[in-house]
């Protein structure tokens, strides 16, 4: 299709890539995994910056953080032995549930978190594990809470002002009990009615801390504060899970403005959350 592309750049570092991007501004576009840009490509774009060479393919843990490089493919997360051990393997499982083998092979962590799409399924799991995102603007690195990244104003700056360098997850979450569930028309469907991730920090059979996140239903992955509040300090029991289910359904209904088209998704989100909680309580 008609375009004004004049050059391709393959920077060797995030800093270099971000500096270039900031210099060229609207004259550049960033690609990494698989993209079909042609329909959205602005006529101003003259430079394509391909991030494929960035040395950001690591999955590693230090004392403070689990660090996942932005250029890791979804397939690599799925197969990572370290991730299989982390919070019940919830990140690897989320990666494995995403779309199909070709998308998992081409798609990157950076792309999955920085394209504002409600059906991408890494954002809910990162949100549930208190992730932060390290971004570079070419001069300095900036650390942002994951929820911040998902805000539309910030999302617009990823790939225009910032490059995602890595996603970092606090070391403490390693022992959390987590679970996820997804309801879609078929297993490999990229779109879902809803998806849900819960992560529970348990102590003596009670909930010490909990994250309940819903994806696919709202424009972006969202923590369900009311459901979390209902669970706080409560025993890890079916009664708690059912109370959370009701709270989540009410909260989601209000967030969707009671839209009839979303009624089913709200309802089954509660069901999935309850099931995830039961799994996490027992895990």
């Amino acid at each position: 299709m008609k375009n004004n592309i004049k050059q391709f750049c393959f920077p060797g570092s995030a800093k270099e890539a971000a500096a270039l991007m900031n210099k060229l501004k609207h004259k550049a576009v960033v690609v990494a995994g698989g993209t079909r840009l042609s329909r959205a490509l602005l006529p101003s774009v003259e430079t394509v910056i391909d991030l494929a060479d960035l040395p950001l393919k690591h999955v590693k843990a230090d004392r403070k953080w689990l660090r996942i490089g932005a250029l890791c493919s979804i397939a690599e997360l799925e197969k990572s032995p370290l991730l299989a051990q982390w919070a019940g393997g919830v990140i690897a499982r989320a990666a494995g549930q995403w779309s199909n083998a070709l998308a998992r092979s081409m798609g990157t962590v950076g792309g999955n978190v920085s394209r504002a799409h409600p059906h991408n399924n890494l954002p809910p799991v990162f949100l549930a594990l208190d992730a932060v995102v390290v971004c570079s603007d070419g001069r300095a690195e900036k650390v942002l809470p994951f929820a911040r990244i998902l805000e539309p104003a910030m999302m617009r700056q990823i790939g225009t002002r910032y490059i995602v360098v890595e996603v970092c997850i606090p070391a403490a979450t390693r022992t959390w009990s987590a679970a996820l569930a997804r309801l879609a028309i078929t297993k490999t469907s990229w779109e879902a009615y809803t998806s849900c991730v819960v992560a529970v920090d348990r102590k003596d059979g009670s909930v010490r801390g909990v994250r309940v996140v819903v994806g696919s239903v709202l424009p972006r992955a969202t923590r369900m504060g009311k459901a979390e509040a209902v669970l706080d300090g409560k025993p890890c029991s079916e009664a708690s899970a059912r109370a959370a289910e009701a709270a989540l359904q009410a909260e989601l209904q209000s967030l969707t403005g009671g839209a009839q088209a979303k009624a089913y998704a709200c309802r089954v989100s509660g069901v999935l959350a309850r099931r995830c909680l039961m799994e996490a309580f027992q895990g």
Binding site: K2, L183, I185, T186, T188
Partner: protein
Amino acid sequence: MSVSDKRDFTVVNHRVEKIDALALACGTAQFTDDVDIRGLLVGRILFSPHAHARIRKIDTAAAKKVPGVLAVLTHEDLPRVRHTTAGQGYPEPSPYDTLVLSEKARYVGDRIAAVAAETAEAAEEALSKIKVDYKVLPAVFDTMEAIQKGAPVIHDEDDSKNIPDAARNICAKFDFEVKESEWFSEADVVIDQWYKTQWAQHCALEPHVTITYIDGDGRLVIRTSTQVPFHCRRITARVLQRPLKSIRVIKPRIGGGFGSKQEVLLEPVCAALTLATRRPVKFELSRKETFVSSRTRHPFVIRLKTGARKDGIITDAHMEVYCDNGAYGAHSLTVMMCSGSHTLPMYQAKNSRFIGRSVYTNLPVGGAYRGFGATQGFFAWESQMDMMAEKIGMDPLDFRRKNYIRSGEGSPVFKAMGEGREGIEQKIGSCGMDECIVKGMEAFGWHEKKQRNRNQTGVKRRGLGCACLMQGSGIPEVDMAAASIKMNEDGSFNLHMGATDLGTGSDTVLAQIAAEVLGVTVKDIIVLSSDTDLTPFDVGAYASSTTFISGNAVKKAALHAREQIVKVAARILDEEPEGVDLRDGKAVGKSGRSCALSEVANTAFYYHDQHQIMGVASHTAASSPPPFAAHFAEVEVDIETGQVTVLGYVSTVDCGTAINPTLAEGQNDGAVLNGLSFALTEEMRFNSAGAMVNSSFRNYKIYSAGDAPPFKTILIPTYEPDGPFGAKSVSEIGINGPQPAIANAVYDAIGVRLFSPPFTPEKVLAALEAKKEGKVLAGAR
């Protein structure tokens, strides 16, 4: 036993490797677009953005000025020839209501103008510069609303032909009744139910694609992804008002069709641009255009009112169907009729009535699609069979066994209803239904699973369902196929036929039939199909006709060649021709002496009574022997989310002699999986303006290897006396089973009847809720 009736096969009924498989697996087999043609122009179509609009004026001046644009055409530039795009035997029993480029927009996606340019960019820029002055008209999107008085009239032009009632948007109608006693007077139970099926698309992986060019002799060559090369030639010649002899249609390898390529869609517009520019032109629909602007499966609204006696005999069948054809008539009459003609004979009710209406709406156009109306008809019928069985307290399989048509039996429906006209009388020559049921139940573990599923309590409930089916094998006294076989010096043969392999494996199956007759292997048969300049006529690949009708033509042609071979061999062997047999690439005499076929060929070419050994034959059938099938499904329904998961699926199919069991299994596997996603996921959805909202594989889900549930095909051999070596059709029947089998299984699991597929989690949960609240589900209407 003569070779014609032999049963101890050496090639037929063997798992011969598909003859084109290796080249396809190596990526060297050539599809339509896999050739490089110098100077090829890109063709693009301007599609209507409105569901219903009159075109006041089209201004193409600016578009024509775009650099690289060589032609811009509208309806004003083409002969105004109303035609049907449905590739059927001539004269087609369809309304002539279509122009290559439309004079009025009748749906979102209707074809308004066409462009040929040096590059895709130039073509698209030209499209954006065509100015169309539309007067938007009220549109109608609902089948039943469209036939009400006062609904917008979609075909108000005065030059369309063969529309029964244009003012009421009725593009085809057919009624028939056989009555032996007063309606429902003998019935102990009566069920009156409405059903509604959805819009769906074929989703052949290769989109519609056509390349046209003018060859060195000034003839128009159409290289195209088609199921119907000869109909394509005829229809294109007529609509462009060119002599038929000036057109050659070449069918290369085809990337699937399933009925969508039984329509002549791109060829006339592509050819018109080649004629306008004198340049080669290619049209390749995008996936979105394939969804919206090729063809679809007709949604049906069906009323089925049936009666049965307490002893399990079906007494009455009243079937009323409203087939939504979208904006044009295409296969309106034939698909509508097949919903009855393939279902009503299955169970022999004394009183049978069929009332069929095909209806225009401002939506995409229904066409031929694997199953061809029988799919929609059997959803209603096989759901209703379970409901009747329950009402009279009989096992659903026993109930079916009491009623299905047996070998030796006929049906008044066969005579009354053909495809688009009166049918023919026929008696069933082979029926393996009973074995289909018995072997299917056994392989599926019906009784064990029934036992295991008793007294379920959890949130996931399992249930079993079945469906029994039939189809046809070609259209009797309409479909005609021909083949020629010529012998080469090395004892190999060129098999030329119009039969159209679109990925089905017919080239292999037909080569097996020829090889069986000629006593050689398929490696000795060089197949050419099809090229209207080189191969004999064949109506094409549809109506489950190829193995049965083209197969008989090939068998006859091979027998014709065989006669000639035997005559020459008898002379070489110095024996009587009657005693000569052909086997292992040799002619073998009664004495046991033999000569190689190459010697026979060389003798004919060079030594004695010099001539080309060549067989030619044609075939039409006086019957359309139905294949039979039984399907068994186990589902698990999550009663909190409504999600239906298929745990297991077994289908048994009686296709007579499977000429190639591997390919026959593959045909049935593919049909069943398509049926499964048609039951559970597939649906074209439209917004309030009539535009399709899910026109990509991302949003319109067909099953992947990861989505497909475990399922199994079992072939049940019978011998069909009218078929080549006992064969009947196999390609379509399998798609008819999953919708009813799954609906029945869901009912078994949760006690809820579903009348409008696809059975999405949302719908199933809503139906469960309605049942809990004591509401009676209204059904489709």
